[in-house]
Structure formats: structure tokens, C-alpha cells
């Protein structure tokens, strides 16, 4: 019987090696897989490349991973926030490489990586500093920039509910980057607020089919109890 359930966040992230590229879900703290990030911090892998929309908030989660010096490079759209002091300091000190990508282009590059598309022409950022050095093309009267796909060794994501096959559903705007990241990483690890019995997720409403999920772990329970299934 297939079961992708692992017993702890520590077990889930145990094999992440130094130098790995890791996608991390979340838009700010919504959808941020905080327990998996903390396990990764505890585990000790370093020289990481992180792909996330932001570059850490406050001093926990992704910010703590940055503060611990584990991250070599970050690919993101919006590093500078009111509470991004950890990133700001490292970046100003030249201790962190930054690849800045427009948010929609970041999402689309990750989706492309998951869907086997190598590159695509997008109108976003044409004529701006973020398109410098990139191939451009005039197609049907409009200018486009060629952007390539993003893939990763691991994706760490947070979902609302999951079953033993790894089918996942999310909660509200915490869905954000997780479905694409789940498809673009060799090993996708999901933390879920609640494990549910196989068959209790509505097949019409599954957002991430289990094929994309390699491991899932139930954490927390900070959320109010929810009714299983439909």
C-alpha cells in the first residue's frame, strides 16, 4: 500500500544535501511551511539556493535560515519588506546572491519547470532592467522577453489537508506558489495541517494530485478543527 506519510518534519528533510536548490512555498507567511524550514535549519544543510516569493520575514522561518548563513543565493520577486531586516543585512554585506524575478514570471517559470516547457516568451518586464541581457522578440505586434524554466531538487510546501497518496488541498490565499513548486521539484515535501483518509478529498477539488508529492507530514494543528472531506 502506498503511503507517503512520514512521521516528522525532521525525517522529511533528512536527505537535503549541501548545495541543493530548494523551492519554498508561501507569500509572506501565508503558506510558508514553517515547520519544514525549521527542520531544515536544524538539519544543517548549507550552500542552498532558495526559490521563494520573498526573502524572509522577521527572524523566524526563512529569515532564520538566512541568518544562519545556510543560503548562498535566493531567487525571489520581493525581498525588501518592512520586516526583511535579515535579508537586507546579508545582501548589503554581499553575503547573499539575489536573482530578482517579476512575481508572475517567477510563477510561470516554476510552472514551466513542472510542465516540461523549457522557456517561454512573456511580455512582462520588456524594456526594463529585469529584461537586460535576455533574448527578446516582437510577436504579433507586441514585444516579449524569453524566460527559462525553474526546477529544484526539493520543494517545501504547506497544504491544508492531504491523504496518504499525497493529494493536497490548500486554504484560501495560502495556496499561492505551492501547486507549481510541487510540480517543479524532484522531491516535493508537504506539511499538512491535517491528514485525511483516502477518499475523503473531493476528486474534483484536489489541487495538487498525489503524483507531485513525495512525502507529507502532519504538523501543528494550530488551525481550528475542520470537517473532513466535502
Amino acid at each position: 500500500m502506498i503511503s507517503k506519510i512520514v512521521i516528522s518534519a525532521a525525517d522529511a528533510v533528512r536527505d537535503i544535501a549541501d548545495g541543493a536548490t530548494v523551492m519554498v512555498g508561501g507569500f509572506g507567511t501565508a503558506g510558508q511551511p514553517i515547520e519544514l524550514i525549521e527542520a531544515l535549519l536544524e538539519q544543517g544543510a548549507s550552500d542552498l539556493t532558495i526559490i521563494n516569493n520573498n526573502a524572509g520575514n522577521g527572524t523566524t522561518g526563512l529569515a532564520a535560515l538566512l541568518a544562519a548563513g545556510r543560503v548562498r543565493k535566493i531567487i525571489c520577486s520581493f525581498p525588501r519588506q518592512v520586516d526583511s531586516q535579515v535579508f537586507d543585512g546579508l545582501y548589503r554585506a554581499g553575503q547573499l546572491e539575489l536573482e530578482l524575478v517579476a512575481q508572475g514570471t517567477l510563477a510561470e517559470r516554476i510552472r514551466a519547470g513542472g510542465a516540461g516547457i523549457a522557456a517561454f516568451f512573456t511580455p512582462t518586464a520588456f524594456g526594463t532592467a529585469l529584461a537586460e541581457g535576455k533574448e527578446t522578440r516582437h510577436i504579433n505586434g507586441r514585444d516579449y522577453v524569453l524566460e527559462d524554466a525553474l526546477v529544484a531538487d526539493y520543494a517545501l510546501i504547506k497544504a491544508h489537508q492531504g491523504d496518504r497518496l499525497g493529494n493536497l488541498v490548500y486554504r484560501k490565499t495560502a495556496r499561492n506558489f505551492a501547486p507549481m513548486m510541487a510540480s517543479a521539484a524532484t522531491t516535493t515535501i508537504a506539511q499538512v495541517s491535517q491528514l485525511v483518509e483516502l477518499g475523503s478529498l473531493d476528486p474534483e477539488a484536489v489541487v495538487t494530485p498525489g503524483i507531485f508529492t513525495k512525502r507529507l507530514v502532519e504538523v501543528g494543528g494550530a488551525l481550528p478543527a475542520v470537517t473532513e472531506g466535502q
Binding site: F27, G28, T29, A30, G31, N53, S77, F78, P79, R80, Q81, F87, D88, Y91, R92, L98, L100, V101, A102, Q103, G104, T105, L106, A107, E108, I110, R111, T122, P123, T124, A125, F126, G127, T128, A129, L130, D143, Y170, R171, K172, T173, A174, R175, N176, F177, A178, P179, M180, V207
Partner: protein, 215 residues
């Protein structure tokens, strides 16, 4: 003597131009204020690029759900008929031209519709683009709401942007405290003037060749 509009007045003015049935994204900051003035008799669907259509007002103290936030990371609410989707779908919706209106703030807008609103270009400034470049090309109509002048009196509607660009030729209309400017291929048209300013006075203040809409 009547002065220019204040920020609420500007937001209110933009709100009056958003028609019944429109799908609208309101950027972070001043554009978000527009939602406070949307006419109650119009049904308007708000998009937030972090993955939702049908966004409701900012959450009250007893409604806060940290999984339900807007692009500014403020807790919001959900209206009947809402839907959630992931980032690729959300930005596809914008890039594909499905939104009717985006309302954005700006550092500068050029008379040809170039937008600069993501980066001051300062050597020490940490760049952060977020959805700005997607929003710039993300709707059938891109409206900018901004004060016409900086605090030190520089006009923000310019012949050519000096700040780093967010998008090229993407802005349709600029709502300011002094006037509403329509950016057309044949020039800048003053659609409406606030307070005691005249078009001639505006042309002097801005140093721009302005045209008045006939009628």
C-alpha cells in the same frame, strides 16, 4: 479658492470611473484606498494577485485569518462568488489581459505611458519588484493614481522617466490631485481639472504640452 484634491479625494475620483461589472486589481498603497469609495450600487469584482477573485473589505478584528490576505499582506475577507487559484493562474489572468482595470501608484509616468514605480534606482536601495511589472501590463486599462508633484516640487508626469521603468507605454490614465490626464498616442489630454487650476496653469506648472478634451 479651491485647492487640489487630497488623497481621499483622488481615490474617490478613481472609484467613480470604475464601472459596474468590472474586474479590478488595486495596487498596494494609495490605490487600495480606492476600494473605500467604490459606489455601493455597482457590483465590482476585486482581484488580488496572490490568488483570489471576489476579495472583500479588510478583515475586522474578529475576522482575521492569516491564510486570507491581500497583496499587501493585510488580512481581508471573502465575498460570495469568490474563487481561489494559484500564482501561475493568477498572473496568467493579468498577463492574458482579462482584468478590466489595474490601479497603480507611481514614482513617475511619462507622457507616452511609461511607468516607473518599482525602484528608485538608488545605489544603496534593495530592489524588490513583486507583481509591479505584471500589474503594469496586467489589465485592459492601467490607471495610475499619484500626486502630480513630489514633496520637493518635481513633476511626476514627465517627458521621459528618469527612474527605472516598470513597463513601457502601459499607462492609459493618470489621476492626480490637480487633474486627470489621458495619455493618448497623439498627446496628453486633460480630462478634468480639480480646484482652481486651469489647463494653461497646469501646462505651466508641469512644463508639458497639454491638450484639453473638446467639449
Amino acid at each position: 479658492m479651491k485647492g487640489p484634491l487630497d488623497r481621499d479625494g483622488m481615490a474617490n475620483r478613481v472609484a467613480q470611473d470604475i464601472p459596474e461589472g468590472a474586474y479590478v486589481n488595486l495596487g498596494i498603497g494609495l490605490p487600495t484606498k480606492v476600494s473605500n469609495f467604490l459606489p455601493v450600487d455597482r457590483e465590482i469584482v476585486l482581484h488580488t494577485e496572490n490568488g483570489m477573485l471576489g476579495m472583500g473589505p479588510v478583515a475586522g478584528a474578529d475576522e482575521i485569518d492569516l491564510d486570507l490576505i491581500n497583496a499587501g499582506k493585510i488580512p481581508v475577507t471573502e465575498l460570495p462568488g469568490a474563487s481561489y487559484f494559484h500564482q501561475a493562474d493568477s498572473f496568467g489572468m493579468m498577463r492574458g489581459g482579462h482584468l478590466d482595470i489595474c490601479v497603480l501608484g507611481a514614482f513617475q509616468v511619462s507622457i507616452s505611458g511609461d511607468l516607473a514605480n518599482w525602484h528608485t534606482g538608488g545605489a544603496d536601495a534593495i530592489p524588490a519588484v513583486g507583481g509591479a511589472m505584471d500589474l503594469a501590463i496586467g489589465a485592459k486599462q492601467v490607471l495610475v493614481i499619484m500626486e502630480l508633484f513630489t514633496r520637493d516640487g518635481q513633476c511626476k508626469l514627465v517627458t521621459e522617466c528618469t527612474y527605472p521603468l516598470t513597463g513601457i507605454g502601459c499607462v492609459n490614465t493618470v489621476y492626480t490631485d490637480y487633474a486627470v490626464f489621458g495619455l493618448q498616442s497623439d498627446g496628453v489630454y486633460v480630462r478634468e481639472v480639480f480646484g482652481d487650476t486651469s489647463v494653461t496653469g497646469l501646462a505651466e506648472m508641469t512644463g508639458l504640452p497639454l491638450q484639453q478634451l473638446p467639449g
